[in-house]
């Protein structure tokens, strides 16, 4: 029994869970995590489709796409986190609160 349908549906479920998470959270970082989960849902569907033929090697083209897709999604997550951090700093300065980062924060080199 070829499990591709199982993983494809699991990818679709991941996509929708990520979508719901994207809309229902206020916290910026959680929304970044949600968009990351949505992305990996799409990638899972792609790789599941590459494995439809149970005999012989899977189709390498979706594999190459998903491979670069994962590295790009990490980069966009990192960029998102950097932007979120910048917003947090600006909000902190705007409301004159002490810097959110504790003095011994990981800002050490």
């Amino acid at each position: 029994m070829n499990p591709w349908a199982l993983y494809a549906l699991s990818g679709v479920a991941l996509f929708s869970v990520g979508l719901v998470g994207l809309f229902s959270h206020q916290h910026v970082v959680k929304r970044i995590l949600a968009s990351n989960i949505t992305g990996s849902g799409v990638l899972l569907v792609l790789v599941a489709l590459a494995r439809r033929m149970s005999s012989g090697p899977p189709d390498p083209v979706p594999h190459a796409l998903v491979l670069t897709g994962i590295v790009v999604s990490v980069s966009s997550t990192a960029l998102g986190v950097a932007l979120a951090r910048r917003m947090a700093r600006l909000q902190a300065e705007a409301t004159h609160l002490p810097e959110h980062e504790p003095r011994s924060d990981g800002e050490g080199p």
Partner: protein, 310 residues
């Protein structure tokens, strides 16, 4: 029989884990569950006969994402002070998403269940791609254009992240002289370099390549930065800029060169394709490792410690 059990269990766990990640209010719980989600998706790729992707997921998931999210924990509130309420559940949004899920599920299942996709075409042309592993052949030869643009996307993201978060000058805390992490770094580095080199080499005939090796080097770099053995890569230093640019420039050079001899863009000559791809992959590894390190916030070593570190 146990195969079906394992696949079913894995296919069920992924959405369940994703729902857990997004259900919690506490960020630290979400971060740890997200790292576990990365691990389970790596197992999913492994079960779907995609070892290349499992490698990248492993290298990037454990190497970069975990460390980046841990840093995120240190500067964010658990939940923003004003919005203490549970994540708002809009009923119509849930309804719309459920309908979308059903539609997508039906569309995916309606696809023909026995189409081999582009596999046979790639198999037919694999000999003159210069490499034996089909995924590397597709990645760096048949779809070289796509990979070239993707490297440009990485560069832009790295520049963006660094522009938004300039490195602030902080006194180096006590971590610099911590023997434990120092010893860990000293033992990890040779193994990391060896495995990264092995993966670039094995990319020719097996799962591996520039992306995986670059992500592993970046993981090692993150440990170096955290144990203050290395300052965060400085944008102003020439070496960092050259490291960032070697990959794309070499790839463009290799892509444009065939134009001079009357061939099309990125049409690598069969005889030289293998060696050219290997050289480009080495350069890409350096670029990807540097790009992924640029994402990692940190500080310039203080004036005093400037001597040794880059």
């Amino acid at each position: 029989m146990t195969d079906v059990l394992l696949d079913g269990c894995l296919a069920l766990c992924l959405p369940l884990l994703a729902w857990l990640v997004l259900r919690t209010e506490s960020l630290s719980q979400a971060v740890v569950l997200f790292v576990a989600f990365g691990l389970l998706s790596a197992l999913g790729w492994a079960r779907l006969d995609a070892p290349d992707i499992a490698l990248v997921e492993a290298a990037v998931g454990t190497g970069l994402t975990g460390a980046l999210l841990m840093h995120t924990l240190s500067w964010t509130e658990e939940t923003p002070p004003d919005v203490r309420a549970r994540a708002r559940r809009r009923p119509w949004a849930l309804l719309a998403t459920a309908a979308l899920t059903l539609l997508l599920g039906w569309a995916v299942l309606a696809l023909p269940a026995d189409s081999p996709g582009l596999g046979p075409e790639v198999e037919a042309r694999r000999e003159d791609s210069g490499v034996k592993h089909p995924v590397t052949a597709v990645l760096l030869n048949f779809r070289g254009y796509d990979t070239l643009l993707e490297i440009a996307v990485l560069l832009v993201a790295a520049l963006g992240a660094r522009a938004v978060n300039p490195r602030s000058e902080r006194a180096s805390s006590d971590a610099a002289k911590d023997p434990l992490t120092g010893e860990l770094f000293r033992m990890m580095t040779p193994a990391l370099l060896l495995v990264a080199g092995y993966l670039v080499w094995v990319g020719d005939h097996g799962p591996g390549g520039a992306f995986q090796a670059g992500a592993i080097l970046a993981g090692g770099g993150v440990v170096a930065i955290l144990t203050s053995r290395m300052g965060t890569p400085r944008m102003s230093s020439l070496r960092v800029r050259w490291a960032l640019l070697t990959g794309p420039l070499l790839f463009i050079g290799v892509g444009v060169a065939p134009l001079l001899s009357g061939r099309r863009l990125l049409e690598l000559p069969e005889k030289l394709a293998g060696t050219l791809i290997f050289i480009v992959e080495m350069a890409l590894t350096v670029t990807i490792a540097m790009v992924l390190l640029m994402f990692f916030p940190g500080t310039r070593p203080s004036r005093a410690g400037r001597g040794g570190e880059r």
